[in-house]
Amino acid sequence: MEHVSTVGHKAPHAHAHAHAEPGFLWKYVFSVDHKVIGIQYTVTSLLFLFFGFSLMMVMRWQLAYPGQPIPLIGQWLGVANAPGGIMLPEFYNQLGAMHGTIMVFLGVVPLAVGGFGNYVMPLQIGAPDMAFPRLNMASYWLYFAGGVVMLASFLAPGGAANSGWTSYTPLSDIATTGQTMWLGGMLCLILSSLLGSVNFITTIVQLRAPGLTWFRLPFFVWAQFITAFLLLLAFPALQAAAFLQAADRLLGTSFFLPSGLVVSGQPLHVAGGGNPLLWQHLFWFLAHPEVYVLILPAMGIVAEILANNTRKPLWGYKLMVGSAVFLGFMSFLVWAHHMFLTGMGTSISAFFQTTTMIISIPSVVILSALFLSLYGGSIRYNTPMLFALAFLPMFGIGGLTGLPLGLASADIPLHDTYYVIGHFHYVVAPGTIFALLGGIYYWYPKATGRMMNETLGKIHFIGSFICINLVFMPMFVQGLAGVNRRLYDGGMQYAHAKDVLYLNEWMSFGAWGLGFFQLFFIVNFFLSLKAGRRAEANPWNATTLDFAATSSPPIAHGNFATVPHVYRDPYEYSVPGASVDFIPQNAERA
């Protein structure tokens, strides 16, 4: 590293490293620099988020106006999917399965971990790059390949996967070709996440700047650290399950097919003797930790934004770290609370509802600590802060509505109703995605050197906040009335749903309104690249190394002009007696 430090601050970055400047292709497309890869992840996953959301906007038409031709795009969907613009049930199932898959595996996780983790984490720990830059690139391109396979599956005979995002067997075992492509796509995504998580953990353990001890790490880095462990240890279970399902589909094994299965009136010619529940166990062994993969990075982002904009240290930083570690550990012991209705037995249910009640404690501790951090702060209401503030009650609603689902007896009437959809969407959409949007507004000046427009940002926030509640709040009402989550006509043919059917139209308008207000974000995102106000290195007066020790945008290849030394805790805001209200982590003590 010596040769970097001798160059000094003002030297053009081309001299900051020994190699010749790489060409455009190697610098921006096949880059091994964590910042470029982080931006690639961010842009790709935002596109997937928008695509996955668009699938839902189409589905919401069918739910609000069942059997009526879809306006505008109906004629483009193809005769096999929507003859005369009217959506077929098979196509509805494809959209539902792919909406979930795309939002979780191609949208939120790649944005939260691949995007923010890649871009921000090495800067916050004062590292020159990730520990394995080439693995990092491989990780992105595997993710990209997985995404391409998933999208291509819409063109397969019979269309994309249509057995729900959980791909429950035996239904998925006998589904159309799209399901095989789903498995292939998942395999790419799992390998991508494996390489990424090895890289993240190694980087955080090995490449922390001198003086950056474990309890001086920003909470965001802790969140990424625990998330990486969850990805590393939970995803292989789904990988194993995917291998077994692929064997069922391609080699004719019966791992998930019980004896005597009859499909469409015909007995299935397989050996049988398999266990459909095996898939559910393996799937949820991944997918429950996955919930914390979705939420932990969001908590990390919110913690950064809150500390910065309340101008005071986080309340109970060590308590939050301890809770997050405990949360990560416990997340491996709760998976079967998704399976109370499978008949796996009351003693197993009792075990899993106990662990589920236990895991709610650290979540509540973290959320309470974030709330208490607001107390006595002089709060700046900028756009990132608005999203972070909205995260708190939204995640609170999502978390608390989950408690009845964690108790076996209450779960029996609520299982598979819109109540469940409302619950986890409150966690992931106005929870995690709001935090991620806040994070984009917060780190945009770091990545581009320009600020995003505040007015457009506030319109985006207020519009999204109103619409997103309009989408998800009525789901609790419908769910409590007993409306099943997978009905193609939104529940029209059920007597018990009659009283709450009118909500379908409200929710659909909420969804389309939500889509409309994202246009303000998209315009802002691109417009600010050229027209945004120029940002200085530390536009938010932050204390962490990402802002305190680097320029905006950071040096193209390589991060720091000199290796930063850390002397302080992560959030030294409003220190009594100090002349300014923030002291960077790399400021020497007098």
């Binding site: 590293m1 490293h17 620099d33 020159p128 790059d129 990730m130 520990a131 394995f132 830059p133 494996l194 998580s197 090895v198 890289n199 953990i201 190694t202 353990v205 090995q206 490449l207 590393l232 240890l233 939970a234 995803f235 292989p236 279970a237 990988q239 194993a240 399950a241 291998f243 077994l244 064997a247 080699l251 004719g252 094994t253 019966s254 791992f255 004896s259 397989v270 050996a271 003797g273 398999g274 266990n275 095996l278 166990h281 393996l282 062994f285 290849h557 390589g558």
Partner: protein
């Protein structure tokens, strides 16, 4: 861009990046094979009937393969030790042996697979044969992966010995850790599939 601690250990953690990386990778692999072993247990314990495994599979051949794979782990260590003692020809010899032993393992496995097919035993026959093919097949893929890495280190990758001997030695050590893991998986597969 030079990444610190690729060759030298970080004082406070006592690790190099590649060594930590490979251990994390192996932890993930443990979860992968652990999931498949659990699936095997669940399928077998829930099955109405399960064949007597030792009558279907060929125990002498599998014993031979166990010996081959353990020997290859020994030669792998010897190849690394040779580098540590600055004995490059010794490295070439032992690494080459490791590669050949792995090849021998696959050849024996090929004979085993073939005799199953000849007897009309396919993955679709029953769940025991199915899980046997999935578990040994995935293990076989890991063997092939190890052979690609070891072959590279034996052949074109060995150029690094002239320029960065320490880094090259570390690479061999990391490849060795992976190879021992592949060996270890077989040590579990052998009794579970053949003997129990």
């Amino acid at each position: 861009m030079d990444i610190p601690y690729t060759i030298e250990t970080r004082p406070d953690t006592g690790l190099t990046n590649p060594k930590l990386g490979i251990w994390l990778f192996l932890a993930s692999e443990v979860m992968l094979f652990g999931s498949l072993f659990s699936a095997y247990v669940l399928l077998r314990s829930g099955a109405e009937s399960w064949p007597v495994q030792s009558t279907i599979l060929n125990i002498p051949l599998a014993t031979l393969n166990t010996i081959i794979l353990i020997s290859s782990s020994v030669t792998m260590v010897l190849s690394w030790a040779a580098l540590k003692m600055n004995d490059f020809p010794g490295f070439r010899k032992y690494m080459g042996l490791t590669f050949l032993l792995a090849l021998g393992f696959l050849v024996v496995k090929g004979f085993e697979y073939n005799s199953k097919f000849e007897h009309g035993l396919f993955p679709s026959t029953n769940n025991f044969i199915g899980i046997y093919f999935v578990l040994t097949g995935l293990h076989g893929l890991h063997v092939i992966g190890g052979m690609i890495v070891n072959g590279y280190l034996w052949g074109p990758g060995a150029r690094m010995w002239k320029t960065e001997p320490e880094k090259f030695t570390n690479r061999v050590e990391v490849a060795g850790l992976y190879w021992h893991f592949v060996d270890l998986v077989w040590i579990f597969l052998f009794p579970i599939l053949y003997l129990l």
